[in-house]
């Protein structure tokens, strides 16, 4: 009897610990490979590392150099412009397309993959095609001229002040279909009964969307925000493929800056300090969001 009791005891205890046990490998891996590496980067940012990590401390020198660089200033400003426009435009287009597709469209099964497929391709694959399209000499502008629309002008990619918007354009092309899928899923998840009731009360379609449907899409908006902002911050191959950071340095983003200083310019210390600033910015935006989200769900 006593033996059986301990056996049961062991089993319940195992059952109690099992969930945590199952979770622990993932947590351990992430703690080491993500948070450990972040600490390592913070440490590097205070050293004189150049071609490889080295361990001579230099205090805040890398940070003061970083903020003297106009290059960094441009990269940060660009990220602000890029991320804002990218997130807003993707959400708007995604929402519009989702609403339109939700109108009992014939051939939806055919159209949807067309909207979605850009997400499947990396810019290593589509970069050259994009570059050509945007190039006024051989791309869209030239084609319009050949078709007889002589006054058509689209030379943003060659213009220092507008090139960043072409980066936004290509980025929107890649992920707006994906955003559409998220909103479409949200729309399809809304309870029909509520809508019917509202319609009985005489609400117009516009009111229906504005008052009932769009507010119900809040979770979809939030998911889209997380996915899009993470893509915006990591945007790297996009810029490399489209403009290479040019004209001049007009389309550099923090990710390209970081890579360039760490690996091409052999100034790993400055590269690490830019990474730390970036991570802190991400944390400043994401942590309050995550906190609010997780708290609410309780």
């Amino acid at each position: 009897m006593a033996e059986a009791a301990t056996d049961v005891d062991m089993r319940t205890r195992l059952q109690e610990w099992l969930p945590r046990l199952v979770l622990s490998p993932s947590l351990a891996l992430v703690l080491f490979f993500v948070y450990g590496f972040i600490l390592f980067t913070i440490y590097l940012s205070f050293t004189d590392s150049r071609i490889l990590p080295s361990f001579g401390m230099v205090g805040w020198e890398n940070y003061s150099k970083l903020f003297r660089l106009r290059h960094w200033e441009i990269a940060v400003t660009n990220l602000a412009i890029f991320a804002t426009l990218y997130i807003v435009i993707c959400s708007l287009i995604g929402l519009l397309l989702a609403i339109l597709l939700d109108q009992k469209i014939r051939g939806e099964g055919f159209i949807r993959p067309i909207f979605l497929y850009p997400m499947a391709l990396s810019f290593i694959v589509t970069g050259t095609a994009w570059k050509w399209m945007l190039d006024p000499g051989i791309g869209l502008e030239n084609t319009m001229h050949l078709w007889g629309w002589e006054s058509f002008a689209f030379d943003w990619i060659k213009n220092r002040d507008f090139a960043i918007y072409t980066v936004v354009l290509a980025a929107v092309w890649q992920s707006s279909g994906f955003t559409m899928a998220m909103f479409l899923a949200g729309l399809r998840g809304i309870d029909n009964e509520i809508l019917k009731a509202a319609q009985m009360d005489g609400a117009s379609t516009w009111q229906l969307y504005r008052r009932i449907i769009i507010p119900q899409l809040r979770p979809a908006f939030l998911s889209a925000f997380v996915i899009l902002s993470h893509l915006a911050i990591k945007s790297y191959d996009l810029v490399i493929a489209l403009t290479g950071g040019g004209p001049g340095r007009a389309t550099e983003l923090p990710a390209t800056f970081m890579y360039s200083y760490t690996f091409s310019r052999n100034q790993m210390g400055i590269g690490a300090s830019s990474a730390v600033i970036m991570l802190m910015t991400i944390a400043a935006i994401m942590v309050p969001y995550l906190y609010a989200e997780l708290k609410e769900r309780k």
């Binding site: 080295s54 190039d135 000499g137 030379d155 001049g248």
Partner: protein, 416 residues
Amino acid sequence: MSALKTILKATAATVIVSASAAYAEDVEVLHWWTSGGEAAALNVLKQDLEGQGIGWQDMPVAGGGGEQAMTVLRARVTAGNAPTAVQMLGFDILDWGNEGALADLNAVAADQGWDAVVPDALKSFAKVDGKWVSAPVNVHSTNWVWANKSVLDANGIAPPQTWEEFEAALATLKEAGVTPIAHGGQAWQDATVFDAVAMSAGGPDFYKSAFIDLDAEALGSDTMVEAFRRMEVIRANVDENFSGRDWNLATAMVINGEAGFQMMGDWAKGEFLNAGKVPGEDFLCFRFPGTQSQVTFNADQFAMFDQGGVVSDQQAALASAILSPSFQSAFNVVKGSVPARTDVSDEAFDACGKQGMKDLAAAASSGNLFGSMAHGHANPAAVKNAMYDVITAHFNGEYDAATAAEELATAVEIAQ
């Protein structure tokens, strides 16, 4: 003690187990020569080694003129898994050499007499502390102008010899409705042109003190302002769509007769030959006006990574195969560059190649051979890129000539 050594020691056991034991008879070669002709030329080397019973593990990583490969190299070295031999350029070799990561090739070099046949300017990128650490494959010269002969003939233009003649030729072409200069607006291409323009505007001594000695006075001098002013002349003679264009497409403009000239290194020749054009008949190659007796160069080399203190037999075999006259000739005929050794016969080369070899030998003996700033052979990567920033910003209209010279001096100071 360098960081590298610590890392190497920490992972030495792994290296020996994974690298040496697994591929006892192989060399693993990291390089970025992946386009048709280049890769085919490298295959000659591979077959040579295989003839000696040495296997070749190919590790190609293209992108950014070797930048991508250098990133990979750093990851590989940090992991304690360095490749046997690595294609490298200029200051990268010296940086790795100073970290103590490269094998000493002096025995092979002495045996084959490299010191006598490799130009001094090139040696300064192949030797660290008197030790040979890499095997030079070729010398690219970067101060070439490529021209469409029929366009020039139609407008009565002879290859210009001075900056003034060049300016006049540009004006004539513009008048005739031809784009005078085909150019791709990427930082490295802007800098390639700037190399030649600065050399032409200030002469070799100025080039040396500004780009190699990084003398603050020369960097901010009136001569530098003049060089930037000449860049504005060039800027005024490129087409509207220059920005971001690949250099090959710029070359295509010259080939198709849409443009008169292109300033580009000798690799541009491959594009002409590939399009079935003949040097001297369809297209012309000549030095940038005012730099006829100078050569600015960059050189591809293979550095050998130290894998346990001594040069392995395979590494020695690879190094001596690279410096063999037959490979030097075979490879460079295809690549458009000229051999790194000056005693190779020019028989197999075309007109431009022959002239390149003659120019190189002359420049080397008269002290007119200089490392190209744009291609990482004049100053370290941090400085080079800082210069790129200013040159490309000025070329795109962000600064005027005087401000650009000032900015150049400041940027170099921050980067050092």
